[in-house]
Amino acid sequence: MSILQFFWKNQAQVYELTLEHLWLVGISMLLAVSIGLPLGILLTRRPAFRKGILGISTVVQTIPSLALFGFLLASPWLGERADRIAITALTLYALLPIIQNTYAGIMGVDHNVREAARAMGMTDFQLLSQVELPLAMGVILAGVRVATVITVGVAAIAAAVGAGGLGEFIFRGLAMVDNRVILAGAIPAALMALLADLLLGLLERRFRYA
């Protein structure tokens, strides 16, 4: 039985696990952006927090994913459900590139433009929303793109704690020593990562000025 035939035979399950995978990645990215973006902005306003926040998110990044999943398994409320564990871990992994790029993007705004904005009597909020964020958007989106690709990959490990997703095929294939089953998980995951990279890359290009 070739790989294509295997896909055809198991298409319902491939479809279901792909959706599950997408759901894990989507929710995690939503959370990561809504935490990471404000944190990145905070760092540009309060440079004193910079070392602490970037330090913590870098440390999180270095924890092996399997260990982080296992570690969260033991925590009280989170450990009760597999998807909570998975989403928490994925969100933590996605934070660093988003925080870092938000900070770098805003700090990279031409200081003449920032000074002109201040001299024109913009409040700090107007400066941020009308000048800094639009100009930093390309860099911020690049961070989101990297974070998304990482998350699609790491989400495959989520199956180890029973959170589902395409990792199910991969772990099952490993146990069965059957490459076709592994590929049934790996190929859709790779396509998902490539597609996300492509789409966010296109979006990013719309924010190029100068």
């Binding site: 003449n112 433009v113 000074e115 002109a116 201040r118 001299a119 024109m120 100068a210």
Partner: protein, 277 residues
């Protein structure tokens, strides 16, 4: 009046300096738009950029701040719209200390043009020019009418330029848009920091001449920073010459040509012949 030609602060005896702020309160000129009272500005590490500046800018005049790089011209300018705050002394705009005023409201009444222009690259010319009026809550219609008026004023046809982005403009056009943006909300006071410094000589001369006729029509109070002697003498009502963070003197262009001060003479010589004294 006494404020016309302040002596270099170094030369003044200490007692006279200490007594000055109080006495100046009483003699404050009603037509002084900006007044520097014993203003010093130091960096956080204590390095002084400006020392004991006393200067009055009268309503409607063009005060040119002239001096070499690092003489404190730009620092002086930024103290007016509170981009910097004085370490000592007070800067009064319209009789009110800048540090007592709300910086946002203060800045919206002051136009600001700088060498690098600082146009917002993500906004069209139309949005760049209309920004301050929009922030002040003008109606969209009034902003649009003002845009037409401003672009025509600086010699750019609105129908050609309104929808362009800054990257699609030449250096001279960008600088014109910068001037239009600074004038858009009709501020009584205009600060200009070497606005024409980055332009080629021909474009610079063109814009200088246009600006000269423009400022006569507008009747604004203008503080203009430059290191270009010819530009200073052409545009100034009065020239304030700075050297090493200190005011050397304030002169009319005619007076300035006759000044016997060695620093000023050296500046003249270097500018005209390119040689060191």
């Amino acid at each position: 009046m006494c404020g016309l030609r302040p002596l270099p602060p170094k030369a003044r005896p200490f007692a006279a300096r200490a007594a000055r702020p109080q006495s100046m309160n009483m003699v404050q000129q009603p037509n002084a738009m900006i007044e520097f009272r014993e203003v010093s500005y130091r960096l956080e590490d204590g390095r002084p950029l400006l020392c004991d500046l006393n200067l009055q800018v009268r309503r409607g005049e063009t005060m040119v701040l002239l001096g070499r790089s690092g003489s404190g011209k730009t620092t002086t300018l930024k103290l007016i719209n509170r981009l910097l705050e004085p370490t000592e002394g007070q800067v009064l705009v319209d009789g009110c200390a800048t540090t007592d005023a709300d910086p946002i409201r203060l800045r919206r009444r002051i136009g600001y043009v700088m060498q690098e222009v600082g146009l917002f690259p993500n906004l069209t010319v139309e949005r760049n020019v209309g920004l301050v009026p929009s922030l002040q809550g003008w109606s969209a219609e009034r902003v649009r009418a003002r845009l037409q008026e401003m672009l025509a004023l600086v010699g750019l046809e609105p129908e050609h330029f309104a929808s362009r982005y800054p990257r699609e403009l030449s250096g001279g056009q960008r600088q014109r848009v910068g001037v239009a943006r600074a004038l858009a909300a009709d501020p009584p006071l205009l600060l200009m920091d070497e606005p024409f410094g980055a332009l080629d000589p021909l474009t610079r001369a063109e814009i200088q001449h246009e600006f000269q006729s423009l400022k006569q029509r507008l009747q604004k109070t203008i503080v203009f920073v430059t290191h270009d002697l010819r530009e200073a003498l052409m545009l100034a009502t009065r020239v304030a010459f700075l050297e090493g963070g200190r005011l050397v003197g304030v002169y009319t262009p005619e007076e300035f040509r006759q000044v016997s001060n060695p620093v000023v003479a050296a500046y003249f010589k270097a500018f005209e012949t390119g040689s060191l004294p």
